[in-house]
Symmetry: C2
Subunit: 216 residues, 2 copies
Amino acid sequence: MTTKTAASRRVLNRDRLEAEIATEAVRVFAECGYEGTSIATIAESLGMSKQNLMYYFPTKQALYERVLDDVLDEWLARMASLADPEQDPREVLRAYIQAKLKFSREHPYASRVYAMEVIGGAQLYGAQIRERVVPLVRKDIECFERWIAEGRMAPVNATHLLFAIWAMTQSYADFEAQMALVLDRKALTRKDFDEAEQLITAMVLATVTQSAATEA
Amino acid sequence: MTTKTAASRRVLNRDRLEAEIATEAVRVFAECGYEGTSIATIAESLGMSKQNLMYYFPTKQALYERVLDDVLDEWLARMASLADPEQDPREVLRAYIQAKLKFSREHPYASRVYAMEVIGGAQLYGAQIRERVVPLVRKDIECFERWIAEGRMAPVNATHLLFAIWAMTQSYADFEAQMALVLDRKALTRKDFDEAEQLITAMVLATVTQSAATEA
DNA sequence: GTCTATAATGGGATAGAC
DNA sequence: GTCTATCCCATTATAGAC
């Protein structure tokens, strides 16, 4: 038991507390938006004073950026390295859709905070998106295009195909409120996500299947 | 020239000014969110004092609700009565996708304000969505289901098919910032929208075509 | 690291003259 | 209808005791 272990314990404890704060913050930011969120609200739901919270995150913007960083970390951990041009296109697309829908189901607040930032023009986080998201997206598109060049996928517009997959899967987190109103229930269920996965997969596979390429 | 015409001219002028204010407000709300928007900002871009703006809209919330009402009016004017079960499914779907993409292209701010409201849980406008949007959506879904029952459309999940069409078409307004980063340009072009329309139409038509029903 | 106290700002809303 | 002036409150952020 040296001072070194005590110090590292302190650091670990700080990391844990910061993570707890960020977890609560993502929920409030998703429900109220950046400007609509007060750090006092977040602190209160954690049973802590807002001054204490500001000891860990000196500014509201710092907390917001931490939240977005966490969102991106979790998203990239799940989505990076899924699109492998060596694998079978149909299996990769299945897995891609499944992973994106799972993220929407398990991290709806993360998805919403990110969506709001993008809708508002990504004024604060655009640079990070350019650095961390865009390269991954381009890699996915190139994977699609290679499959097309190799004749393993119907010649569709790879960029817009990816946009379509994104939009369809993300909407189950972002627009849940509206979907729930249409379905006349409080929230989406596991069954809704399973049905969504089935339809989206069918749509995408029908699109990339050679015989469907001449449609429309 | 009676006082009556003068009064009606006054009313007309008031209507015109309110519409001008709402038009500017939808842009600012879309870029900054509800709480992030100050009425002083809107007033300033119109060259008017905020007190003067508040003569027309006594509260910020009243202005916001007016903006959402306008958004819904414009959207319903374009989208209502498109899904006609008597028509050919493929032609209706084509027109539906085209109309939704056109709305995204011509009214991006309207789309974004609406999206932000829904993402935040539709806390302020949920009742209006239930009354004005949900019935229309249900009618569209029923149209799809009738086509399926009549064997004119492959037996897919009609509700999720509509969710998918919505998500894909709306994303070109809501997530333009991210798409522009991927495409490495300042904003989406007419060509992007045309390519999107082609792919989305191909996807939907491939999905509702009988032979594709057994996919996935 | 947590507390009390307080500065400093911004913004929604109102009152009243003209 | 438009202006000047002002109130009031919420919120971010800081200072300093313990």
